[in-house]
């Protein structure tokens, strides 16, 4: 029986989503919880491989378990009882038999949070990028419009050799919201390269604070990876908000 899990986690205590030999990735903890309940190793397939320190409100994963292991409604409390409190299974459903958390995903939404003020309030510690320089919002909006659409994002990716060969992605929207000192950038795309959201955010902010020319963004988008940005916004500001199927 296949289970579809909606997962939330605080990224701070873990070495990212993807299983590590050290066993301290989010995937490891969830697999260990399943393994304890099932008595044998269970593999959990996640939709997105978030980096160390990156948070998730809406990670999706699937796992296959023997139907007679537990009554369906016991899985949620049983898994959570075996997980650290910084990882919570928020909901479990039964997807179609051929559902695959990663391959069935049509897109994702990532949110990047920036606290743009002199002092970072304690409740934002580890949850936002504390950025004290002024950010020009109209300029940020212009830059965000430049990266929207279908582009070769190789200039906004790290470790490309290890991941996809096709580096063309479609960002259907980069939505910017400002509420007091809190600036959020919401990226809705059909897929994301490694570190793409953090590199996009870092580079957009670099331009919007006046320290880089927005024309550089066009260069990065048209150079097919021959030019690359290295301005990655820090991991703790990033959230995997939703996986779209």
């Amino acid at each position: 029986m296949r289970l579809k899990l909606l997962i939330a986690y605080d990224g701070a205590p873990f070495r990212g989503w993807q299983s590590q030999t050290t066993g301290d990735a989010v995937q490891d903890h969830i697999e260990q919880a399943f393994t304890r309940l099932c008595g044998h190793r269970i593999v959990v397939h996640g939709a997105g491989r978030t980096d160390a320190g990156v948070h998730a409100h809406g990670q999706i994963a699937h796992a296959d378990i023997a139907a007679d292991t537990l009554p369906f409604d016991k899985w949620l409390p049983a898994l959570n009882a075996h997980l650290p409190r910084q990882i919570r299974i928020m909901r479990i459903t039964r997807p179609p038999a051929d559902f695959h958390a990663r391959f069935a995903a049509r897109g994702k939404i990532y949110t990047y949070r920036i606290w743009n003020d002199v002092v970072l309030p304690p409740h934002e510690l580890g949850r936002a990028w504390h950025f004290t320089h002024p950010i020009a919002l109209p300029l940020l909006a212009d830059c965000a419009r430049m990266v929207q659409g279908t582009h070769d994002f190789a200039g906004f990716a790290a470790n490309l050799g290890k991941t996809e060969r096709d580096t063309t992605r479609t960002l259907s929207e980069v939505r910017i919201r400002k509420t007091g000192p809190l600036l959020t950038l919401r990226f809705h795309g059909d897929g994301f390269l490694y570190k793409m959201v953090r590199l996009l955010t870092g580079t957009l902010i670099r331009c919007a604070e006046g320290r880089a020319d927005p024309a550089w963004i066009t260069e990065l988008l048209t150079a097919c990876g021959r030019k690359k940005t290295s301005f990655a916004a820090p991991a703790p500001g990033l959230y995997l908000t939703r996986v779209l199927y």
Copy 2:
């Protein structure tokens, strides 16, 4: 020269506001920061003595320092540089010479946060009371109306001997808001007895989940302390939101 400080803190790492012999209260940390900058002991007077684990977005304190210690605009960064990141001075102003953070306060606003759902998402860990039983909102609103107004709140206080003799207070409003699973109770009063907000919240919720008769609230309000409630909501859900002058 008197400084008025607006202070925010995460209550989790500290033993409350008030100075402890162990030196790990919020007041201790701020006094230590001043002392380092001034070279001699400085006393900081806070408006409200929050308990261990209770948070603050809007604590107010004052301190007297020699006018030539530092230029006025250096105090904010200098103090924050000497404080743990879970304590932040958010703003410093120069009040009238006779301003007293505690005695000049005309009232306070406390907010209590309850996460009323089966699973507590990781980002609410230590920031809300995780309450899984259903809460009847109309009943909660009725109970909240009962405690509004001027009453002897001795039945909703702990350790009275050590604090005020006059236990009459005016709660001008108890505002209830529900946004998804997040239930907030906002208490606006002219003053609060020790543990009063947590005892009010615990008792209101006890009634609103149907485990106590709301008539009990009337008894508690009219018994002048001869009857007392012991249902205190846990500290990590409570926030000192604002001090009113």
